[in-house]
């Protein structure tokens, strides 16, 4: 257990620095909120219609951006050898890395998501739900994205491979999460969507580390 905590602290420090950490979230949403009105037109009605959806798009893309280095850095500098010979199994290593990634990049994105949506014209009443859904969705993004990051180890153009691998895995949380927020905005039942989103993310947390560890072992051999 101490081994796991030692690793988790280090991963958190690394994730905080990797790709800008929490600042990346703010920069990314600032870009989205600025560029979207320029791209689709600045009529408030039109912007409000796409506000929540664009927050989800930004969340998914920003998660993708920082994923590339999740395992690749350790693989290239030899640290993955060290991690594989530690007291905790590679499954626990993968879990620690993804959890740290979520705390350092996903959680700040979840804080920024309602701000961006409101700036684009979404109702402030939706803010709590957008936050909770982004938090849960970010967890799913981190643990499914980790699978793509681990599978792409050792390949050239790993970043492209990650995007292709995780795209289908990112679709369900976007559908459930954005669907829940849309449903609430339309006065419909939003709980089902949120629960499906949480179920998806928790399943990713439970199963993802096994896939990541298997992919890492394959890359190490």
């Amino acid at each position: 257990m101490t081994g796991f905590l030692v690793l988790f602290r280090r991963e958190l420090a690394l994730a905080w620095g990797r790709g800008g950490g929490p600042l990346l979230a703010l920069a990314f949403f600032a870009c989205t909120a600025t560029l979207l009105p320029l791209a689709v037109g600045s009529q408030p009605a039109r912007l409000a219609a796409v506000a929540t959806g664009s927050a989800w798009l930004a969340l998914a893309l920003a998660s993708l951006l920082s994923l590339e280095r999740l395992f690749a850095q350790d693989y290239e500098d030899g640290a993955l050898d060290l991690l594989a010979l530690g007291p905790a199994p590679l499954e626990a290593v993968a879990f620690a890395k993804c959890l740290a990634q979520w705390l350092a990049a996903g959680a700040p994105l979840a804080f920024a998501a309602p701000l961006a949506a409101i700036a684009l014209g979404a109702s402030t009443a939706l803010a709590p739900l957008i936050f909770v859904a982004a938090l849960a969705g970010g967890l799913g993004f981190s643990f499914t994205g980790g699978i793509g990051a681990a599978l792409s180890l050792g390949g050239r153009r790993g970043g492209v491979l990650i995007a292709v691998i995780v795209l289908p895995l990112f679709a369900p949380p976007v559908i459930f999460g954005a669907g829940a927020v849309e449903a609430m905005a339309g006065g419909l039942d939003w709980r089902t969507g949120l629960m499906l989103l949480c179920a998806y993310s928790l399943a990713a947390v439970a199963l993802g580390p096994f896939a990541m560890a298997a992919a890492c072992r394959n890359a190490l051999s």
């Binding site: 081994g3 420090a13 690394l14 030899g78 050898d81 594989a84 010979l85 530690g86 007291p87 190490l220």
Partner: protein, 204 residues
Amino acid sequence: MISSLHIEDLAVDRGDRRLFAGFGLDLRAGEAVALVGRNGAGKTSLLRAVAGFVRPAAGRVRFAGAAGDLDPDEARSGGVHLLGHHDGLKTTRTAWEELLFQVRWTGGSRAGAEAARERLDLGPLCDLEVRKLSAGQRRRLALARLVASPRALWLLDEPLAPLDAARRAAFGALMAEHLAGGGLILAAVHDPLPIAAREAEIGA
């Protein structure tokens, strides 16, 4: 605690190519073996097979303790240090942060890390980011974890390459100490080790 390593009739493939076959070696507590062979003969692959990363095509690797054979996974996660071509250091963190992590992850203590810092003369480097260190300084930083966290079997891949003559001799003293304490060393080398070691040739 690993007291002996037995490599029996080992064969390793890389892709479709057989690197070596029928390799056997017994290594007991207090012994060092220098693994020699031409470039590409499979020295690194052999070390990685002993560490459990490369699955052998034939043969097996056994670890034995005082009370008989050990579970290979447990033996590796608690008793093996592997130092490869790469030092496994993060360039954006300070030398001390990385040393402390590597030592604690491999089962050592803060006190052990501090002692290793003095022993390998790393004190002046500790506050520097790893990216500012030279290749030899990085290697010394990586070697410090071998000294700081007690693991019986050292698997070393060209451990001396970036070190200068004085540091090689100093590391020789550390290896001799490790062997005297019942350790085992298997090192892939081109230059002779600075300690008395049996030679094993691979792909002869």
